[in-house]
């Protein structure tokens, strides 16, 4: 017996439809287990969403871990995770990584990236060409791009980093990085990148915009400052989507969790609070 009867047949039909929709979302019915692995950048977002989701669906158990983007789709392919969190669309080929066949990419957030320099660097702005030349090792002195006469120290993320893939695709438009030399340094995490750029004079690196600190300088690229507003208005191009990868189309609890993280409630509330940009901000 239902609580509320509707007056007309039309209204009753609507009531029944909405009941069946909400039955999926009802506090009670959903059960399951979701294992999520991959991107470190997306882990705070995943755990925040999991904490909220469990209040709606207490019977769904969510476990999350992170060890770098590439381990996300790898774990899904291996069958040890239901969701692979990754900072690029792993269903497509990207620089350094072949696509993961049969996996479906679900956008969950927009992540802006910034080119950053040590505070002693006088340059404020670089063009795409200048960035390509610096990160490929063609330009090695700051004076060639409007700065002081000093060697440029390039700090790069290690192979497998989602930030590296995005920076290479969006800021360098696919050109290759240098990979060795006295003025080249490779770091394993965003935290190490932060330390390296903050403490190494004449260094240049890149990171998620959210990790930029007041002890370094974020560069304008092609005269556009890396701000959330410039990402949204389309003028700043160095950003990427964070994705959840699934083996085929998801179902059950996994599907429901992905829908929750993509929901207006989460995207406009908790996701912004954690300084990501909602996927709906860019059409």
């Amino acid at each position: 017996m239902k609580w509320f009867k509707s007056l007309s047949v039309a209204a009753l039909a609507i009531a029944l439809v909405s009941t069946s929709v909400s039955a999926v979302g009802a506090a009670s019915s959903l059960k399951g287990k979701i294992v999520i692995n991959g991107s470190s950048a997306l882990l705070p977002l995943t755990l925040q969403a999991a904490n909220e989701f469990k209040k709606l669906h207490p019977k769904v158990k969510i476990s999350a871990s992170a060890a770098g983007s590439i381990t996300g789709p790898q774990s899904v392919r291996k069958g040890i995770a239901d969701i692979g969190a990754v900072d690029w669309d792993a269903s497509q080929d990207v620089p350094g990584f072949k696509k993961f066949e049969g996996q479906v990419a679900h956008k969950v957030a927009i992540i802006p990236f910034a080119a950053v320099v040590n505070k002693n660097v006088k340059v404020e702005d670089l063009t795409t060409k200048q960035l390509q030349d610096i990160f490929s090792g063609k330009v090695t002195n700051w004076k060639d791009v409007g700065g002081d006469d000093a060697d440029i120290i390039v700090v790069n993320r290690a192979f497998g980093s989602g930030t590296r893939v995005n920076f290479q695709m969006k800021a360098l438009q696919g050109t290759e990085f240098i990979s060795k030399g006295n003025n080249y340094k490779e770091v394993k995490s965003s935290g190490d990148m932060k330390t390296a750029v903050e403490t190494t004079p004449n260094s240049i690196g890149y990171m998620d915009l959210v990790y930029v600190t007041s002890n370094m300088k974020a560069l304008k690229i092609n005269k556009v400052a890396p701000t959330e507003a410039n990402v949204v208005n389309g003028t700043y191009k160095v950003w990427g989507y964070g994705y959840y990868m699934t083996k085929g189309e998801p179902d059950g609890a996994t599907k429901e969790f992905i829908e929750y993280i993509q929901s207006a409630k989460f995207q406009n509330g908790s996701l912004k609070k954690l300084k990501f940009i909602p996927i709906s901000a860019i059409k």
Binding site: L7, S18, A27, S28, P58, S65, I70, S75, A264
Partner: protein, 473 residues
């Protein structure tokens, strides 16, 4: 009437209205037979008040006296050249006796039964007319029909502010809107909340709401009057959770994208003090004792991953160990006399812990324990400072638990078609079933002194004297 009603008067007002409604629930009161039609005086609850409206039943459709309903709803009527114009909620509805067309803001809507004139009174299809005016209509399980001129629509969630008011939140793609709603009348006003605001943290006296924005700033809104939100901190660090102190004077928050630090903000002087910085990440569900000294929260440990990056990507050389990733409850008590004071882990079990609520003196925490075995019942349990776990309620599978004034209210599995709500005395553990609800109810919302609120199919209902009054549509 002042905006803030005392709980007693709220209940009395509605009890009167609803009391009469139940008497008239059978619909028909007096019937007048004319040559062609039978006019019936029927009982409806319009804008929360029991009224009698003239109705005609034709082709299975209820027609209502235009004049009667418009007056009760507060719709303005004008008549010219045989066309009647009704205005409400910014909508203009035009109709004409004998015509099966309702013009709503200029657009034509077909009626099942033409507008009828009987004994000099105009009758129009009840449901179509109510909808055209942007009003709402609801028939409850007892057969009473609730008609409200202006209810908030598409409410996604509510939270009680005090015993008389709640905040209703609408979510949409571009942002959200928060309204302060008077429970007794359904009257609402839009709150000044930034589009990128976090969920509102309401102080326990209901006077203030706080939120953070994408830039990390904290704003406070005075709920006692219509006012603009005031930025009380321009600190840009990420603040995943905000909690008011019991006296509403300061705010506590988790800091950093991993919620690693517990900090305190004094809004008056814009000063932030770190309470606990122990490098333990992913704290959540922060609660602060009444004396502001004991902090109860959960810690979630991410799983351990072993991956060899030197192997080819195709080798998928990844192993994940999710053991011990269930949230655990921790407590930290500020005590300068203790050297190297550390947080204490109260739980170590492998169950999921949801709806965590710490006692106001920090002496214990209760939560819904969800077993890893999906077939097992979820139970309400309590853990003390001594780390002993005791069951408070395990009669039925618990879906949700809320706490108010020494009592737990749990939404549980029912008999298949219904859900049950139990009230459990925290001290004696005595449990009594207080409601049977539709299985499409998704949430209960409680507050001391306030009526029980439920969300069902995206609508909010309040319990008043055994009836569920719709307060959103």
């Amino acid at each position: 009437m002042s905006m803030v009603l005392k709980k007693a008067s709220l209940v009395t007002v509605l009890a009167l209205a609803v009391g009469t409604a139940s008497a008239g629930a059978a619909f028909a009161a007096t019937a007048t037979t004319t040559s062609a039609v039978q006019i019936t005086n029927s009982a409806y609850i319009v804008n929360g008040t029991m009224v009698s409206l003239g109705t005609i039943m034709e082709k299975g459709t209820t027609l209502v006296s235009l004049r009667d309903l418009s007056a009760k709803l507060g719709a303005k009527l004008q008549s010219a050249g045989g066309v009647v114009q009704a205005k409400l909620n910014g909508h203009t509805v035009e109709l004409k006796a004998g015509s099966a067309v309702l013009k709503v803001d200029g657009a034509e809507h077909k009626l099942n039964v033409p507008v009828k004139n009987a004994k000099g009174v105009t009758y129009v299809e009840l449901e179509a007319y109510v909808e055209a005016l942007g009003a709402s209509l609801y028939e409850d399980e007892k057969g009473s029909v609730w008609i409200d001129a202006k209810l908030l629509s598409n409410v996604d969630r509510i939270q009680w502010v005090d015993a008389e008011r709640f905040i209703a939140t609408q979510e949409n793609e571009t942002g959200r809107a928060d309204y302060l709603v008077e429970a007794a009348t359904g009257k609402y006003r839009l709150l000044d909340v930034a589009a990128d605001a976090s969920e509102l943290a309401v102080s326990s006296d209901g006077k203030k709401a706080a939120y953070t924005t994408a830039d990390g700033h904290v704003s406070v809104l005075d709920l006692t009057r219509a006012s603009r939100a005031v930025v009380v901190s321009s600190d840009s660090s990420i603040k995943p959770e905000l909690v008011w102190s019991a006296d509403g004077a300061s705010l506590y928050f988790l800091q950093g994208d991993k919620g690693s630090v517990i900090a305190k903000l004094d809004p008056e002087i814009n000063k932030i003090t770190k309470i606990l910085e122990d490098k333990v990440d992913y704290k959540a569900n922060l609660q602060v004792s009444e004396d502001g000294k004991t902090f109860t929260y959960t810690v979630t440990k991410p799983g351990a991953v072993v991956a060899d990056a030197s192997k080819p990507v195709e080798a998928d050389d990844v192993a994940i160990d999710m053991k011990g990733t269930e949230p655990q409850i921790y407590q930290y008590t500020v005590d300068p006399s203790v050297k190297e004071n550390k947080a204490v882990q109260l739980t170590a079990s492998a169950d999921d812990k949801v709806f965590i609520r710490a006692a106001s003196d920090g002496s214990a925490a209760a939560y819904v324990s969800v077993s890893g075995d999906a077939a097992a019942k979820s139970t309400l349990v309590k853990v003390g400072k001594d780390k002993n776990v005791a069951t408070l309620f395990n009669e039925r599978d618990v879906y949700q638990a809320e706490y108010a004034d020494g009592k737990w209210y749990v939404l549980t599995e029912g008999d298949g078609e219904k859900l049950f709500v139990y009230e459990i005395d925290q001290a004696t553990k005595a449990a009594k079933r207080i409601y049977e609800l539709s299985d499409s109810v998704s949430e209960i919302i409680v507050k001391p002194g306030a009526p029980m609120a439920v969300m069902q199919d995206g609508r909010v209902f309040l319990e008043l004297n055994g009836r569920w009054k719709p307060v959103s549509r």
